[in-house]
Symmetry: C2
Subunit: 249 residues, 2 copies
Amino acid sequence: MVSQNQMKRIRSLSQKKIREVHELFIVEGLRSVSEALNAKAPIKSILWTKEFSQKNAHFIKTISTDQNEAISTTEMKHISPASTPPGLLAVCKIPTFKTPKMNRNFIFLDHVSDPGNMGTILRTALWFGIQNIALSEGCIDPFNPKVVRGAMGAHFHLSWIGTMHINDFKDYTILGADHQGDSIQSVKIISNKWVLVMGSEAHGINENLKPSMNQLVAIPKIGSGDSLNVGVAMGILLHHLTAEALVSP
Amino acid sequence: MVSQNQMKRIRSLSQKKIREVHELFIVEGLRSVSEALNAKAPIKSILWTKEFSQKNAHFIKTISTDQNEAISTTEMKHISPASTPPGLLAVCKIPTFKTPKMNRNFIFLDHVSDPGNMGTILRTALWFGIQNIALSEGCIDPFNPKVVRGAMGAHFHLSWIGTMHINDFKDYTILGADHQGDSIQSVKIISNKWVLVMGSEAHGINENLKPSMNQLVAIPKIGSGDSLNVGVAMGILLHHLTAEALVSP
């Protein structure tokens, strides 16, 4: 049985400082927890509600061990950071990444602060084969529960995510997403690896970073609007960089 | 002064049925409210906090009329549907759209239920010049406050948003986003107008709709993951359909 103390500790993992102390984070929902299991991520325990196990009996059979057990819906509501808990919650060890592999393409996030956006960005980066994510100071913690929810298991396939500096990207073509940049059609990759810098939702790329860029690139606007969502913009740019630019350089 | 009754009524606009009765919806934040003003949308009243007006004195000067006034932070928290209210809230009339113009390209949303996704979809559609949005039964209400927040003012530039049936799209090339479809590179537009169908977050496009499609199209996966976010996927497809496919047909 899960004790009151354990409940309290799981609940407290919604806070960044507690996650850092215990090196644990929360993963919720069938898709994300399945990804963690498939990737053999270091899961400490899995909890579910009766309602969830009735709908997912086969899945529950595969995970029943001492560390994993059913709790009440009220208990789930108490420990889950979600406003509508999916009924399946895993506590997982935060992976320790060694050093970033500086022969791979990267995404660099500059002050991306919205957890939903960060989650979408990780999921999208993985889809396009980018497993290395550099963060500026001031980004939302990637192990925040809302980030994890939006990332749909991407965390378990990353090679690196952590704070870096733009100067770490020597020998890289540094591309910045900026609505005043050149059309993505005219992007020039002038070295055998690139890093794509995405700026904050409110302010775009920090002016201090711009002198480091080889090229600013934009997604041509056909209609109207002030900007695209940062996750959508990155998806369009990555699709171009991976599927199109590299096929016909 | 805003009366207690008015406060209560604004607060109740978080509910779909109340929005429908009063034909009003809530718009929050500087960017979205500015878009409403620029588009000369029928705004009934604008409310703001002292904190907001101190930071945005110039903006507040431009909107000060009888219908618009400052309220306390506590009052704003009470009436705002946001967990962190931006301090600026407009009550706006829900536009009455006449009939959809069946000579324009469309987005068709099939059971898209997440308000954040719907908001991103509207913002992204507008960017690519698509002002006509058809909804299946079962979509989230597009005037839900979370949809409006994510759409960043897109609502004020739409020509049509409302429930339609796939059979309404005679003479259209009907494209469906589906991960088992043909690569987007091979998309064929076989008429002078198209409709892009995006399915639900959990289940994709309803099987019942698939026989109506001319082509299912997919975004090639280079890395890993189960799927892309529906807003990201639509952005990539629209970029291709508007900027690329039509330039070199």
